[in-house]
Symmetry: C3
Subunit: 275 residues, 3 copies
């Protein structure tokens, strides 16, 4: 199983990410069992991309100097054949962020792009009623269509997170759903948890193809979050328990907590459930 | 009540703040019920200031590039009529910080300036026995006078935090006092909690005038801190519980924990107490 | 005892450190009882170095602008006679980091250099099987020799951290060992704890000579970590309890948890043990 392969291989995951979540995502990766490195200096990117197992690029707290580092990193990733996951934080909220996300997608080989509904919509030029980074509008009925179109447009795996997550490789669409309803509420009260999902996908990219890595990252996060929210319903304590559960979570927990559906043109076929 | 209005409106609070506390203040705002965004790139400031409800400027870990972003942000705030709270972290400790705080106050329309005793003193050119950012000397007997003078000098609401907080709009002075004595001790053992106060004031500025927003921010913080310290007397656990209580705190908690006095020339009139 | 002197004096510890751990190390220093300040702007370094009690330089998330600040800070430290502890995070992983560490060591008077096995090896040009920042290979059998050679080469106190820590002033070598075996495992699952050790050494440098300060920093960290791990075996909860125990830890705890051996050419003489 992918989770065990991450833990035995301890992949090196190189993050160029925002100031708000650096500590959060490094701790999430360590708790899971991966080896994070945070580095942005252009002078050392080649040394790092050469040895890393995957790269996580996150455009929160962006400025021109960090964007330059990100562009260089994704070009090196293409050269060295390393998988990249892009988290387009704030795309749609500002022109700088939207353009940066598109530039990164168009000038490299991104394996996975993962965002909330507003962010992923912005990649197609569809700016909705976006309000801030954390409070994007989530529209389930169009999210399924959206991931398919983004995946095809950019030749990547695309994921939209929300109460239910949707993932597509451009052909198929999967939905990842957690049993507990309450977990989404508390997830929205802690900063950087979307960024944690991208980082976890980065860890799985070292041991899986992009579609499976994305589903595994989403499922692992939601399982750990669900378990944590049962022990601690308030945001501070929940946040602490989330790291505990990223460390503790096993394959059986995922099977108990998560349902993954393949959504076909004709209907919905459940592919992984505890029922 | 202001707290309920913050929670129902979920105001977008734009923070240009220091590296140490970005995660802390984002989590505090989310726990309270606001929507934080952290961004500093000059290229996207106009897009953000246009839609934000308020702006928090905090000069910790300052350098010239961040100061430039802050100056641009407060000028845009003036243009778009958005309220600004300034946290002059480290004013008085270095000439760079003192000058930066004064430049921000003099070149824009700051609604609220909030600092500890040493920081706020430095705004009047009165550098006291300042030792570091966290360990400023607190002198209650002159703090009341200080907030009045700073409020008048800069045409703003001024607040000095300490075991007892003082707030003035240049005419009146209010004292915000928490019942429990022990809470100040543990507050001093966690970084960024002064910055959290400024961020909470930022959230209230979206729904209240500057004087009321400042009192509400101080009272909310102290209430949550007091409740947290009763559950967890040590700094790591207290810090976690503080987010829990920013989420849990309600109007009744504030009334139980906090006393707000209006201090008049003739004496002290209690305006809000549980007695 | 050193610990009580730190708590009564509350030394000002100036940190130029990486984005990932700024919050972590500031909170660790506050919990212990020191006064941290985080600042990197060249314009304010002289104001700060003049009044600080010690300086912590940490080259994680390095870039050329931060390196320039670090070089200026260590030169000012030499001028003002302030002790410096260097944490060469990632030395050996990239040429930029290795060169930066060597430049800092060779152009100033560093009191203590502390790293993991891979990082300290890199200072002698011995790049081993280095994998990332967190997962350096630890080789106890050569670590003792390594600290002695690094201490002599750079005229500093050198420390290598691992399941057992080794410290040398170039003449003697000490080993710092914690009773509990499990603590190393969970320490490796939280980011920035090596950086916390360097910060604690910085606090002790204000009240002790470099050799004693280094042993005290290592022993304090391991004691607090050991106590925390007994209360909380998973990384999120352990991390929280670590701050609690940095606040709670006393001299008796150190004596109970830690053994410090002086390793002589002829053998091992235990100098501090609970036996």
């Amino acid at each position: 199983m992918s989770l065990e392969r991450v833990r035995s291989r301890r992949p090196l995951v190189h993050n160029i990410t925002n100031f708000v979540v650096m500590n959060t995502t490094a701790n999430a990766l360590l708790a899971l069992g991966a080896s994070p490195i945070m580095a942005h200096a252009v002078e050392e990117l080649e040394d790092l991309v050469r040895v890393t197992d995957s790269i996580v690029v996150n455009i929160g707290t962006l400025d021109e100097r960090w964007l330059y580092s990100m562009l260089k990193a994704v070009q090196l990733a293409k050269e060295f054949g390393k998988p990249v996951v892009l988290d387009p934080v704030g795309a749609g909220a500002t022109k700088l962020r939207t353009r940066a996300a598109l530039t990164l997608l168009e000038n490299s080989k991104v394996s996975v792009v993962k965002g909330n509904f507003g962010e992923v919509s912005a990649l197609l030029g569809e700016v909705g009623r976006t309000k801030g980074v954390e409070a994007m509008v989530y529209e389930e009925r169009v999210a399924k269509d959206l991931v398919m179109r983004v995946a095809r447009r950019f030749g990547t795996v695309a994921a939209v997170t929300g109460p239910q997550d949707f993932v597509s490789d451009g052909r198929r669409v999967y939905a990842v759903k957690v049993g507990s309803e309450n977990v989404s509420r508390v997830i929205g009260r802690v900063t950087g948890l979307g960024c944690v999902v991208a980082a976890l996908i980065g860890a799985y990219l070292a041991v899986e193809d992009p579609l499976r890595a994305t589903v595994a990252g989403l499922a692992t996060f939601k399982t750990a979050a669900s378990r944590a929210s049962k022990e601690a319903p308030y945001p501070g304590s929940f946040h602490v328990k989330l790291y505990d559960w990223l460390y503790r979570v096993g394959g059986d927990d995922l099977i108990e907590e998560i349902e993954v559906f393949e959504i076909e043109p004709q209907g919905i076929a459940e592919v992984n459930s505890h029922n």
